[in-house]
Subunit: 178 residues, 2 copies
């Protein structure tokens, strides 16, 4: 642990207590209307893989845990794979309540229109210009292109349910904010 | 990349195209009413550190990027640190629109009440029973304790804004779902 982390004066921050050792942010969950559409989008456009799928017959829903495969060795055996999945950092969990794919139009709330709450997920990419071309080639809906708005080189697109996805190239935004 | 990942038949899934190489899910953003309250909660109760804070004077908001420090060497220099932050996997970004801390009651929508969308964030912990004791010692609000409901050993608590946080111990839920 670096001193300068604890040394910074952010309101309310405490040094991580021993009781929290090993706590790890595993995922962020979004409901999706149609898993076929969402999985095509997140696998093709954003390169994510389904690390684990879990079905719940009685409650009629399925969960898809998505992440990139960089540096990851995914266990083949089912139980081991579930345990491994929950040990990862920063996955995206998509929840499909069976039957919603038959409804008309977008059915989920993006959190940016009122009532507000959740804002977006964000991907870092190695080449923002190439990523924008890739999104255009795949007819991705843009909210904001790199040269629009006050935040240059920060892109926002929509996923199939209308959730916002921020896209940045980290070395282009080193001077952002203060 | 393991063959069994691509070999599984999930609807819509494509093998990650070359154009997506290096794409990485960096964060999930939630708006918070009072950063002092939220940072106390996420640092003390969940052991997260502020890896980077960015202030935007003109637009009157601040961003706090939170993550655990395990295996992470945080750069001290500001620009380098911002770039590094956006290269991480799976952070939690908290957005504070200045002044909201003076409003009454909870002001943000959790995505689980109607209209639904975002569901929750999830932490994996090494010892669920100890974590529950820790949450009780910190007066954390429970939605579901380990022995309640259909999903045993899956806990849900609320953060200060009312967002749902799932808490699991991965090796206790290896048999969940099918």
């Amino acid at each position: 642990m670096s001193d300068h982390i604890q040394g910074e004066a952010h309101p309310g921050v405490e040094a991580a207590p021993a009781q929290t050792r090993g706590f790890r942010l595993n995922h962020c969950m979004l409901r999706v209307k149609d898993p076929e559409v969402s999985l095509r989008f997140y696998s093709r456009v954003f390169g994510m893989s389904v690390l684990r799928r879990l079905d719940f017959e009685e409650m009629k829903f399925s969960l898809y845990f998505l992440g990139d495969l960089e540096g990851r060795e995914v266990p083949a055996e089912a139980t081991e794979r579930t345990v491994w999945t929950f040990q990862q950092r920063g996955l995206l969990e998509l929840t499909h309540n069976w039957g919603t794919e038959n409804e008309e139009g977008r059915i989920y709330h993006d959190g940016n229109a009122e009532p507000q709450g959740f804002g977006h997920i964000c991907f870092n990419v190695p080449d923002l210009e190439a990523a924008v071309e890739w999104f255009d080639a795949n007819d991705v809906e843009f909210i904001k292109r790199p040269d629009q708005g006050k935040m240059k080189n920060v892109v926002f697109v929509k996923d199939p349910d209308g959730y916002w996805i921020e896209v940045v190239q980290s070395d282009l935004i080193g001077e952002i904010g203060s």
